[in-house]
Amino acid sequence: MKMRLHLRMALVILALIASSMVVSSAAAGGGEPVIKQVQVKAVYLYNFLHFVTWPDQEEKEEKVVKVIGVLGDQELGRSLTELARRLRQRGRTTIKVILYNSYRPDLDFSACHILFIGRSQADNFKMIVARLKGRPILTVADVRHFLSAGGMIELVKMEGRIRYQVNLSAARTAGLRLSSQLLESALTVIKPMPKED
């Protein structure tokens, strides 16, 4: 199982790079096979599932349906739903996408493994992050200063490519274990303070 994970990590990274490249070429030349940035983001979100271990997740239960919540980004929601459908067709790990139009204080994200916060929620993300602090939900956003607000992964557009930054400290506090592979590929990693030293 670990071997498979290992393999898959490599595959996913390849897919990540490939998709980001296609996106960049599409942006530069406007050629035919246009893969939109939103699709890349969807792939990213899906792939994060494989590099993150949730505390209640037992190793054997890999086939457990993972839940990705999308807040305030309809387009991404559709892309993810499409992706989920295709994955289901292929008999791969199934995901479940929950769409939230906008933030409301009564929304409970506890079903989500990953919560994506869209740009439309730029005013609310600090609050959301503060609310989710310590809970095993991987928070991802493409808004600035997300990490300093306590978010875990911030998607960054850099030279036409989508990259990401990680707040390892926040993830660890939430009890999430991020793969060192994921961390290695990150643009920057905010590390927790050394335990001793």
């Binding site: 670990k2 071997m3 994970l5 290992h6 271990t53 390892l168 274990r177 991020l178 793969s179 060192s180 592979q181 961390l183 290695e184 990693v189 590390k191 030293d197």
Partner: protein
């Protein structure tokens, strides 16, 4: 010392085996050393690379302090059976993650090799260290396998060396053996083989063998020559002895002839002198006798008229008788002197071609009264007899002498066979009678002058001697075959062609008249 007694066959095998086994041993050792060294190098590099790869795979885990990930990476080493234990230390030296193979138990420390490598990030930051402990038993097993293969190769090459040496033995030793066999046979005196069966071709052995065969052939030839020489030696000695004997006999004979010739020459001179003197003195008598006879007759006539009855008349009858006797004596003396002259006379005469048959017929005719009622003459002439060059008168005298002797040898009645034939450039004239023959003791004297078997007064003893000289002067030969009571055969052998020497030597024999 022992080494010298070992046969070449075994020496070859031994040397070849030693050389090849040494070579194989050295080669195997070198190969083993090389291979083991190479394997160790490769192994070390391999392990270092492994440590490097595993270490770099653990970089991120160390960096971000995710021991679980490191554990996953380390666990991948499960695929490598010989890895016994891997320990990953963080930069403080604490154990960060580790992997321990469950299968490898009871491995002693001696069989474990440890490889350690520092893990350093791209920016040069030291993040940790990895230690891989590897079991070297596989390596040792590999080494043992190589050793086994080398052993097999060594044994195989020893076998092939043995096989090769067997071939070499055949190539070198076999011809040598057959050569040795040949030498032994030669040493034993057996030269009767002509070929070296086992050797053909033109290599050194072939050349040696053919040289040997050649040598043997020569030996055999010389041996055979020697044996042949030995075999014929006695015969050759006998032949040579006989030749010598013959030469001695010839020498003795010619010495005797020389003596005879000298004797004859001396006698010839003597006889010539005596004959001359006698002839002179007899001339007086012969000259006086007719006068005495005439005068006596006149005296008788005168006396017959006057004193017929006187006793002197009677006396005159005696005188006439005495005179007749004296005349007969003179006649005989003259004949003797004539013979003596003929004996001593030098034979100056012209050599003329003579038909011997005509000559013989003449003589038979002359003697017809002599043998009228005693001997029958048979002519057995060969018409092929050539004309012979000789002094006609002399040879006629010789024939006559022999024929007279033959007639005289016949006591009552017999036959005389005259036979002629040519042979080898010579004319043979044979006179064969069936008369009384000659005693063997007398045979060697018959040609001596004055030797006669006739009663005194019947022969002078000069006939055959004269004949002998005549034939001699013609460079001919006389042969006598005789047996008492059965007759005698005398053969004159004359050379057909005139011999010039005959004329030159003539003067020496009898130069006196």
């Amino acid at each position: 010392m022992f080494w010298r007694d070992v046969s070449i066959k075994h020496k070859l095998t031994l040397i070849l085996m030693l050389t090849s086994s040494l070579t194989v041993l050295v080669a195997c050792l070198a190969f083993y050393g090389l291979v083991v060294n190479h394997f160790q190098k490769v192994y070390k590099r391999d392990m270092n690379n492994l440590a490097l790869i595993v270490g770099s795979n653990c970089k991120a885990a160390l960096m971000f302090d995710v021991p679980e990930d490191a554990g996953v990476v380390l666990a991948t080493l499960k695929g490598r059976k010989s890895v016994r234990q891997v320990i990953l230390y963080d930069k403080q030296g604490h154990v960060f993650a580790s992997y321990k193979a469950s299968a490898l138990k009871g491995t002693s420390v001696k069989e474990i090799c440890s490889f350690s490598r520092k893990i350093i990030l791209d920016d040069g930051t030291y993040v940790g260290r990895i230690v891989i402990e590897d079991d070297m038993r596989d390596m040792a097993r590999g080494r043992r396998q190589i050793l086994l293969i080398l052993l097999l190769v060594g044994v195989g090459s020893l076998f092939s060396a043995f096989w090769l040496s067997a071939i070499l033995r055949n190539v070198v030793s076999k011809p040598l053996l057959s050569l040795t066999e040949m030498v032994k046979r030669i040493a034993a005196g057996d030269f009767q083989f002509k070929k070296c069966s086992s050797m053909r071709g033109r290599d050194e052995m072939g050349v040696l063998c053919s040289a040997f065969v050649e040598m043997n052939k020569r030996l055999r030839d010389s041996h055979e020559r020697l044996e042949e020489y030995n075999r014929t030696l006695e015969g050759r000695v006998a032949a040579r002895t006989e030749e010598l004997q013959n030469a001695m006999d010839d020498l003795r004979k010619s010495q005797a002839q020389l003596v005879q010739s000298e004797k004859m020459a001396a006698l010839g001179q003597l006889v010539a002198g005596v004959a001359h003197d006698i002839n002179n003195n007899i001339s007086f008598i012969a000259g006086a006798l007719p006068n005495i006879k005439r005068m006596t007759n006149e005296l008788v006539v005168e006396m017959a008229e006057n004193h017929k009855a006187s006793p002197a008349w009677q006396m005159h009858l005696d005188i006439v008788s005495l005179l007749a006797n004296a005349e007969e004596g003179v006649r005989r003396t003259k004949k003797i002197v004539q013979d003596l002259n003929a004996f001593s006379r030098s034979s100056h005469g012209q050599l003329v071609p003579v038909d011997i048959h005509a000559e013989l017929n003449n003589i038979i005719n002359l003697l017809r009264y002599e043998c009228r009622d005693k001997a029958e003459i048979i002519r057995d002439f060969d018409p092929d007899l050539p004309v012979v060059y000789c002094q006609r008168d002399h040879m006629g005298q010789a024939y006559m002498n022999i024929l007279l002797n033959a007639i005289q040898a016949i006591e009552k009645r017999g036959t005389i066979r005259l036979k002629t034939w040519p042979a080898g450039g010579k004319a043979y004239i044979s006179f064969q009678d069936n008369g009384s023959g000659i005693e063997p003791e007398a045979l060697e004297y018959i040609f001596d002058p004055f030797f006669s078997t006739k009663p005194v007064g019947q022969g002078t003893g000069l006939g055959l001697s004269i004949t002998y000289n005549i034939v001699k002067n013609h460079h001919g030969k006389i042969e006598v075959h005789s047996a008492p009571g059965r007759g005698t055969e005398i053969v004159i052998i004359l050379p057909v062609e005139p011999c010039k020497k005959a004329d030159e030597e003539d003067g020496g024999v009898g130069g006196m008249e």
